[in-house]
């Protein structure tokens, strides 16, 4: 049978893939996509815990699913703002490579 730990391990590996994408890639669009992967990994573990913690009514704990709903909303807003910043940056510098954007680098 599938245990809670299996879902947590899948969620952890997905988070690490997203983290590696943020650390290794230099294209800003790919970095934004990796951020989405990390947010979704957190969603998966929240839903797994929601299904695991059955309340007195015999139903899953819906507080976690409401939380996932909020995360999805905030992530959609974050992607919209991030991509708008990306477009503004591309207009100013004609690049999406983080190597070429180092004005604030110490």
């Amino acid at each position: 049978m599938v245990t809670l730990g299996d879902y947590l391990i899948v969620s952890g590996i997905l988070f690490v893939i997203g983290f590696a994408g943020v650390m290794l890639r230099r294209n800003l669009i790919i970095i934004l996509m990796s951020l989405e992967l990390m947010l979704n990994a957190a969603n998966l573990s929240l839903v797994a815990f929601s299904r695991f913690r059955v309340g007195p009514t015999g139903l899953p704990d819906y507080n976690a699913q409401v939380f996932v709903f909020f995360i999805i909303t905030v992530a959609a807003a974050e992607v919209a703002v991030g991509l708008a910043i990306l477009v503004a940056l591309y207009r100013a510098r004609q690049t999406t490579d983080v190597k070429d954007i180092s004005s604030l680098k110490f």
Binding site: F15, I30, N63, F70
Partner: protein, 167 residues
């Protein structure tokens, strides 16, 4: 859900998730992300969270992906040419990621409850949307309205950011 289906969808999610990071072409990355999100939506449904699975498909695989593909098309991003890789920096980044993976696996391994299976639900059909909605509007009414303001602010911010400034 049978373990067989669980591992198929988990592998689908993880393999296409890795493909997002590995692909050089941004369009291929975006399409891999769609597949990864679809696998994740199947995992959500396997946990009886049908509402979350459906908004995962609608919001992520639908809206967010169209946004990503539009930006890739608008900026006309090509596949990156193979540039010289800074091996020291890449190895360090990979090492940090692998250390994080080791920590997560060891925490899950030592977590006693994680080795038990999920409790069974009552055999009646679960009214998922109704329960999430009731919880959302009864217990989380104020955060829901605040999120509405957040989305409004994001919309205005995007319009302001992408407006071309007059010279």
């Amino acid at each position: 859900m049978s373990p067989f289906l669980f591992w198929i969808f988990a592998l689908l999610t993880l393999i296409f998730g890795a493909a997002v990071v590995i692909n050089r072409n941004p369009v291929a990355s975006a399409l891999s992300l769609v597949m990864s999100f679809l696998g994740l939506a199947a995992l959500f449904m396997s946990l009886n969270a049908y509402f979350i699975g459906i908004i995962q498909v609608l919001v992520y695989a639908g809206a967010v992906m169209v946004l990503f593909l539009f930006i890739i098309m608008l900026l006309d991003l090509r596949a990156e040419e193979a540039h010289r890789i800074n091996w020291v920096a890449s190895a360090a980044g990979l090492a940090v990621a692998l250390i994080l993976l080791g920590q997560i696996l060891s925490v899950v391994g030592h977590f006693k409850i994680a080795h038990t299976t999920f409790p069974t639900l009552p055999p009646t059909t679960i009214d998922d949307v109704r329960n999430v909605g009731a919880s959302l509007f009864r217990n989380y009414n104020l955060p829901f309205q605040i999120v509405g303001v957040l989305v409004l602010v994001a919309t205005i911010g995007v319009v302001l950011l992408s407006k071309r400034e007059p010279r």
